[in-house]
Symmetry: C2
Subunit: 420 residues, 2 copies
């Protein structure tokens, strides 16, 4: 049985999550629960920002016809085939393919399947490779190359596991500087974060240049010259504009400019990367990069210097594995997108996997963290000294509290009734 | 008032429309009717192939909140702003942006707005330019360049109008060689088409190489060496596979290979273009190219030699204008995708506009035609001697017969009830 809920949090009331293109997000999820005949449960979700969540719910319902009636064993014994069944249904692929609403819905469904599967058994390299659909990426990464990467990374694996259990995976915070926050709030949050041990900070930019200069200057002052600053324009600019604007902010030494322009503009990102390289500023993108074919090209074109995978935009673990392996081959670090609702909970698994089983490196790597809405999850992320501590509960960590789901269902939950 | 219907035709029963990736399409539309307070009607649609149409309908319903309550005058007086309101809503853009389900829904809604507007007044170059959202494409085409193109094409306009009224716009046929058709049916249809004056033929390929060789050989024999043959793989191959496969079919002298690989793979199409150029075979793509940013890059990367715009995949006339103008600047001919349900009716307007007001050229240009489902439209296309004759009725030609809509509504229409 598969059920799906439209769960929304009224975050726009306090401007949490506001940026240059999403000025009033209500952080939301399409939340999926799969129940097997044996009474086991798998939990999955995809993140949205309010209106339109009902469309993703509708798409999950359409996909559920391809899932219900199959056993977990049936699915995972040919996971590549099952992946393609969902993403390449002869009728439904027309409304994608592998992008937008239908891809978000695929992520929600498959995240639940992975949650179920994660609770039940270990996965060796060959098994993992068999989950990946290599269609359209063999010119960049063959199945054999992928397997070789995983086999090679078996060396030193236990050491890295031990290290992660002890130290955790490095994180950066986006919680201090949403675009809608006042300078005063920004200062306060920055001070608190420094006290909590944070050393890497992301600032939203792109709406007004003078504001950006003031805010970047303020944060750089607060954090000092040795901590790390990143800036994020959320797709606000055209190509030329991005180069001019970021050049004006170069004196605050950002490590990267994130989403300078359209998430579809590979060649545009390549031009921006080339122009900003002499300033020591990299380009980061990926939270709205919709599939492995797009990531392949970003890598082929040297259009990004930081790969920001997303646990809910791509087709779940299956497609994220393909991107992690391609990024490794092209020697570009992966720094996942997180925040939202449940993205931290999900993506911590992927980035720990990247370190332990793929890249074996922490150079220039860190995972986004936003201190937000974790209280609605049964196994929320644990942050210690600005690091993600490995999750201890089985599964994919995105089971929500039943009470949270109920009160936030849209439009009938109590939270939304009270706002009417 | 805006109403939307899920209208499906059970075309899979006879394998009409079958190709290497869409083996059993039920040609369908999300059909939109806008009624103004003055009782005027605008009709719009977007094409789908069956399952999943309900998701697009759900998206149209979500977008309708942004349309209902606005007058036509309000919308067209700042059409660029209205376009961006629909495509960049701060919450809904997350589930696109400008791609997949939400973009198809945008097309359906805006097609209806254009239908309304088309009935009411003439549009000069400046007015048309003001409908285009230049965000993300100014590195390829500025507003001034776009205006210059339209102004320049005023010369000789009346001559071209007269020519079109007399001769019509050249077309090619896809009706003869769907993948699911038998050789016998294929021969029969080819003979009929030759008798009707057709000179350009498209064949579906990509499922089985030996079948393709047999079918291409058969058709080339039937049509002789001087008529035109195109082949269409509907995204079936990886990059290397596309090059190898098409090379094997080169002796049948196809003008183009259409959709050789993923519609998102700009760099892949560029590699294929480069490899096939010495064989005299061009690359065509676009029916699943989801926005102007993607088309911009296909042009920048010399990744296609034929631009196949789609009236329902892109954001209606607004976005198609941007693509027509970019194609002209990059000197690449536009050969629209059509067929489906209502695509011929819609796209004839765009390609006539391209000839009369943008490119002023017929070199290497032709518009797809599929002889299929036209009987459900109030003003179906008129084909004479393998040419589209300019439509005479006002509007955008996609008003459907009420009886057709009713009997084909899914799942409650009589046609579907009978199939249960």
């Amino acid at each position: 049985m598969l059920t799906v809920s439209d769960v929304r949090f009224p975050t726009s009331l306090e401007q949490h999550g506001s940026d240059a293109m999403h000025t009033d997000p209500d952080y939301s999820v399409a939340y999926v629960v799969i129940e097997t005949d044996q009474g086991m449960h798998g939990y999955g979700l995809t993140f949205t920002v309010g209106r339109g969540t009902e469309i993703v719910v509708c798409a999950v319902e359409a996909l559920s016809a391809l899932v219900v009636g199959k056993s977990l064993e049936e699915i995972v014994s040919d996971f590549r085939g099952f992946y393609r069944l969902l993403t390449s249904d002869g009728q439904m692929r027309w409304i994608g393919p592998e992008k937008g609403v239908i891809q978000l819905a695929t992520a929600a469904v498959l995240n639940a399947v992975w949650d179920l599967w994660a609770r039940s058994e270990g996965k060796d390299p060959r098994k993992l490779i068999s989950c990946i659909d290599f269609r359209y990426i063999t010119d960049a990464l063959t199945e054999q190359e992928a397997l070789d990467i995983l086999v090679k990374a078996q060396t030193g694996k236990q050491q890295r596991v031990d290290q992660m259990l002890k130290e955790g995976y490095p994180a950066y915070t986006t919680s201090c500087a949403w675009l809608g926050y006042s300078d005063q709030l920004l200062k306060q949050l920055c001070t608190d974060a420094l006290n909590d041990g944070w050393t890497k900070f992301k600032v939203k930019v792109g709406a007004d240049l003078e504001d950006d200069i003031r805010r970047c200057s303020l944060i750089r002052q607060m954090i000092g010259p040795h901590n790390t600053l990143m800036i994020d324009a959320n797709q606000r600019w055209d190509v030329g504009e991005a180069i001019t604007w970021v050049t004006r902010l170069a004196e605050y030494k950002p490590l990267w400019i994130e989403e300078p322009t359209s998430p579809d503009d590979i060649l545009g990102h390549a031009a921006i990367s080339k122009a900003l390289a002499p300033l020591g500023i990299g380009v980061a993108t990926g939270e709205q990069c919709h599939n492995r074919v797009m990531f392949k090209q970003f890598l082929q074109a040297s259009a990004l210097q930081f790969v920001q995978i997303d646990s809910c935009r791509l087709g779940s673990v299956n497609e994220n594995l393909a991107v992690l392996l391609m990024a490794h081959k092209f020697k570009v670090p992966v720094c996942p997108h997180a925040g939202g609702v449940g993205l931290c909970e999900l993506v911590q698994h992927l980035i720990l996997f990247d370190y332990i089983s793929v890249s074996a490196s922490l150079d220039n790597r860190m995972c986004e963290f936003v201190d937000h809405l974790h209280q609605h999850f049964r196994s929320p992320v644990v942050i210690q000294n600005a690091h993600y501590m490995p999750p201890k509960d089985p599964g994919y960590s995105c089971e929500m509290l039943e009470s949270s789901v109920q009160t936030h269902q849209y439009p009938q939950g109590q939270v939304w009734k009270n706002l009417q």
